[in-house]
């Protein structure tokens, strides 16, 4: 690559990048143009966070596989059936979130002409998320009623670790959703905040489906 250029760098998008996304618009450009062309770091950052969470659950998955592989003490148990209901609740929360996302864009763009605030879809998402966590709590209570506690058996240990870790991360998503709702009500919501929170929420959804399959197959 030639090391020296003799004129100002070109500013259009190039596959190899040219000074990062915000280098692609003129410095004095309109904010609208900038918003269009400059994906802010939150867009990248959320993928970084999801990669890190994915790595954590991959590590726990490998721990489960290794621990089960060499264990004569592994006792299988039937997953509490409420988990399947919880799964439906969480999937529904993703659907309501997508409804919200579509309407928020229109609402933020045309607020003055009196579109209804779509915040109720976000409240639905939030409520369904909290219902999921409550459902997981019921699942733990059902297991403990059967005498299956954290230390009872490696299979129950992994069940509690996986579900608790997922619920912990989901509560992080609930925090994000509260932030989105607050900002929407203040009319200060940015598209990227909503997108980042949505990606996180959907990831929690997909992650849970993966965990359910894993637990269903392995426990």
């Amino acid at each position: 690559m030639a090391s020296t250029i003799h004129e100002r760098p070109k500013l259009e998008r190039r596959p190899s990048g040219n000074g990062g996304p915000r280098g692609m618009v003129p410095a004095g450009g309109l904010p609208r143009t900038l918003q269009k062309y400059a994906p802010p770091p939150a867009s990248t950052g959320i993928w970084v966070i999801l990669a890190s969470i994915g790595m954590t659950f991959a590590a726990l998955t490998s721990a489960l596989v290794v621990r089960k592989g060499g264990a004569p003490d592994w006792h299988h148990f039937t997953l509490p059936s409420i988990l399947y209901l919880n799964t439906l609740i969480l999937l529904a929360s993703s659907v309501t979130l997508e409804f919200a996302r579509k309407r928020v864009a229109a609402f933020m763009a045309a607020r003055r002409i009196g579109l209804a605030n779509p915040v109720h879809w976000l409240y639905s998402t939030l409520g369904l998320g909290l219902a999921f966590v409550a459902g997981q709590y019921i699942a733990w209570r059902q297991l403990s009623a059967q005498g299956l506690y954290l230390a009872t058996n490696p299979s129950s240990s992994f069940f509690y670790v996986f579900t608790a870790a997922h619920a912990f991360h989901l509560i992080g998503g609930v925090g994000g959703m509260v932030r989105v709702i607050t900002k929407l009500n203040n009319a200060s919501l940015r598209r990227t905040t909503l997108d980042a929170a949505s990606r996180y929420w959907h990831f929690m959804d997909v992650l849970w489906v993966y965990l359910l399959l894993l637990l269903w197959m392995k426990l």
Binding site: M1, A2, S3, T4, I5, H6, R8, P9, L11, S16, G17, N18, G19, G20, P21, R22, G23, V25, A27, G29, P31, L34, Q35, A38, P39, P40, P41, A42, S43, T44, G45, V48, I49, A51, S52, I53, M55, T56, A58, A59, L60, S62, A63, V66, R67, G70, A71, P72, D73, W74, L150, A151, P154, S157, V161, A165, R190, T192
Partner: protein, 592 residues
């Protein structure tokens, strides 16, 4: 304004916001440096205590009982206390010095400036990452003050000993819980840091600064942050599982029928190898997390002082990347003697030998670039040369250890201690020193004293060889490691070597006081630094002042026109052209 205005913060007004809970990446970088500074002093004193004990086992170290009355009755440390100090030395050095200083401290301070940004995109996460890391350090140090002291399990905390509680020995109760909690918290801090480093590099680069125009130091931090993201994300759940085994009675790691101190443990069916797999999947990348930032810093410093770019900028970057990728495939070489399937040993041995290829390429590029260069000799360039020397000397023994048949013989000996101290510990420390001497003028606006710097270098360089080269000899002679005294017949004749090492360690350690003095004296009384004292080209030397203002470039962002290392050209300032200088270059180098 566009999105950077959303993420950049305002100039801090109060003392607390300016110096304590600061959002400014430069202040956070200095806070990390300060933490590493305190940590390295603690770690060094611990190593002195261990070395004195190894040289003169029954010598009463005045005041040692103040640290622990049980651990050092009559000021002579017990065997268990020796192991406790060893564990703390290693944990403090690996996590709070070798990770914190070259990566978190210098990376925080200089990565945003070198990419031409006014700050990291998530300043609150950045601030949190430091305070979380500090909390982790305090949790670790707190274990000195619990009833039976810190854990004695080694920085690897091998199970089952570390998972069974107080029955495992002094420090295996609360000490382990504090250790694992500290490390889990540390992981959170580093994940937050990595998030900022990655997004800063990808999204905050200023106009004209393509990835290939990033300085090598930035590449080092960027690649390290990707490693950190994946490695610490594995160590954290591992620590949580360890804590659960410890306090909740689960059996992730402790096998059935484990008897410790004549007591049958209640756990069943756990896998000891599982912990080792999880730990070393983090542990080996951690070696590169410690060294790759140093490689970047040293390359950056050397290029500036050679006044010409490296033979191949891109090959260096690709090699850094190859080290990062391969570091995940080689981790099993720490487990050759663990009882792992021998076929796995061969499988891990092969990539371990492969990883020597990018390492060798990096070294050859450094040496080839240095060949015939009219290197400007100063403290920073000397420490960079020292880094290369240590990396080669320590790296060569890695060839031996990579082979299971040899490692079985050498694994539990001082050969390994010599190897990792040189290639990872001392080399990374030299990278920190090089970075400090090089960037101090930018961080504080004053020059460090060069004479003191050179004296510091030569004593440290010779001293480090005197300490760590004999370790290899000791290892080949069969001197086992982790022993607090050498009472076996065949090890008795080796004690004079240990005494020599102890004296060298004390002298070399004391020589660091020269550095400490230089650091503090120069901070307040040093010669005022010119804007660009090393005649360097990268963006950190384009800020309007030293130290830079809170938004780095005084309200406007630079535009980059050139590759990072335009030396040996005819520029208006001399033999170099700054990255953000719009001037044309007649005798352009076709390098990167």
């Amino acid at each position: 304004m566009h999105d950077t205005a959303h993420t950049a913060h305002q100039a801090p007004a109060s003392f607390i916001r300016k110096h304590v809970f600061s959002l400014d990446h430069k202040v956070i970088g200095k806070q990390y440096y300060g933490l590493a500074f305190v940590a390295v002093l603690v770690g060094m004193v611990l190593s002195w205590l261990m070395r004195i004990h190894l040289g003169w086992t029954n010598y009463a170290i005045p005041g040692l009982h103040l640290l622990s009355a049980n651990g050092a009755p009559g000021n002579v440390m017990t065997p268990e206390y020796y192991l406790q100090l060893m564990t703390m030395h290693a944990t403090i050095m690996v996590f709070f010095v070798l990770t914190t200083a070259p990566f978190a401290a210098f990376g925080n301070y200089f990565l945003p400036i070198q990419v031409g940004a006014e700050d990291m995109p998530f300043p609150r996460f950045n601030m949190m990452s430091f305070w979380v890391t500090l909390t982790a350090f305090l949790a670790l140090i707190a274990s000195f003050f619990v009833s039976d002291g810190p854990t004695l399990g080694g920085w690897t905390q091998y199970v089952p000993l570390s998972a069974v509680g107080a029955v495992g020995g002094p420090g295996e109760g609360a000490g382990v819980v504090l250790w694992a909690t500290s490390i889990a918290i540390f992981c959170v801090g580093q994940l937050l840091g990595s998030l900022n480093f990655i997004t800063t590099t990808l999204d905050m680069r200023t106009k004209g600064l393509s990835l290939w125009r990033l300085p090598l130091s930035t590449w080092g931090w960027f690649i390290t942050s990707i490693m950190g993201l994946t490695a610490f994300a594995v160590l954290m759940p591992a620590c949580i599982l360890l804590i659960l085994d410890h306090v909740a009675g689960t059996s992730f790691f402790v096998p059935s029928n484990t008897i410790i101190n004549d007591q049958l443990q209640p756990h069943t069916g756990g896998s000891t190898l599982l912990w080792q797999h999880l730990f070393w999947f983090f542990g080996h990348p951690e070696v590169y997390i410690a060294i790759v930032p140093g490689m970047g810093i040293v390359s950056h410093v050397l290029i500036t002082n050679m006044r010409r770019p490296m033979l191949s900028h891109r090959t260096l970057v690709y090699s850094f990347g190859a080290l990062a990728v391969l570091s995940y495939m080689v981790y099993g070489h720490h487990m050759f003697v663990s009882g792992m399937n021998p076929v796995s040993s061969i499988a891990f041995s092969f990539p371990t030998l492969i990883i020597t290829i990018p390492s060798t390429i990096v070294v050859l590029i450094w040496l080839g670039s240095l060949y015939g260069a009219k290197l400007r000799i100063n403290s920073a360039s000397l420490f960079s040369l020292g880094f290369i020397s240590m990396f080669i000397s320590g790296g060569v023994s890695g060839f031996f250890l990579a082979q299971p048949s040899l490692d079985i013989m050498l694994h539990a000996t001082y050969f390994v201690v010599g190897h990792f101290h040189m290639v990872m510990g001392v080399a990374a420390m030299f990278g920190i020193f090089a970075g400090t001497y090089f960037w101090f003028p930018k961080m504080y606006g004053r020059m460090m004293n060069e004479t003191l710097g050179k004296i510091h270098f030569w004593i440290t360089f010779v001293g480090a060889y005197c300490i760590f080269m004999p370790f290899h000899y000791l290892g080949l002679a069969g001197n086992v490691r982790r022993y607090q005294a050498f009472v076996v017949d065949y090890m008795q004749p080796l004690i004079p070597v240990h005494r020599f090492i102890t004296v060298a360690a004390l002298v070399t350690g004391c020589a660091q006081l020269i550095f400490v003095y230089n650091l503090f004296y120069s901070r307040f009384q040093g010669e005022v630094a010119p804007a660009n004292p090393w005649e360097a080209t990268s963006l950190e030397w384009s800020t309007p002042s030293s130290p830079p203002p809170f938004d780095n470039f005084g309200g406007k962002l630079p535009v980059v026109y050139h590759d990072p290392y335009q030396y040996g050209v005819e520029g208006s300032n001399g033999d170099y052209v700054m990255q953000d200088s719009p001037e044309q270059i007649e005798s352009a180098r076709d390098e990167a």
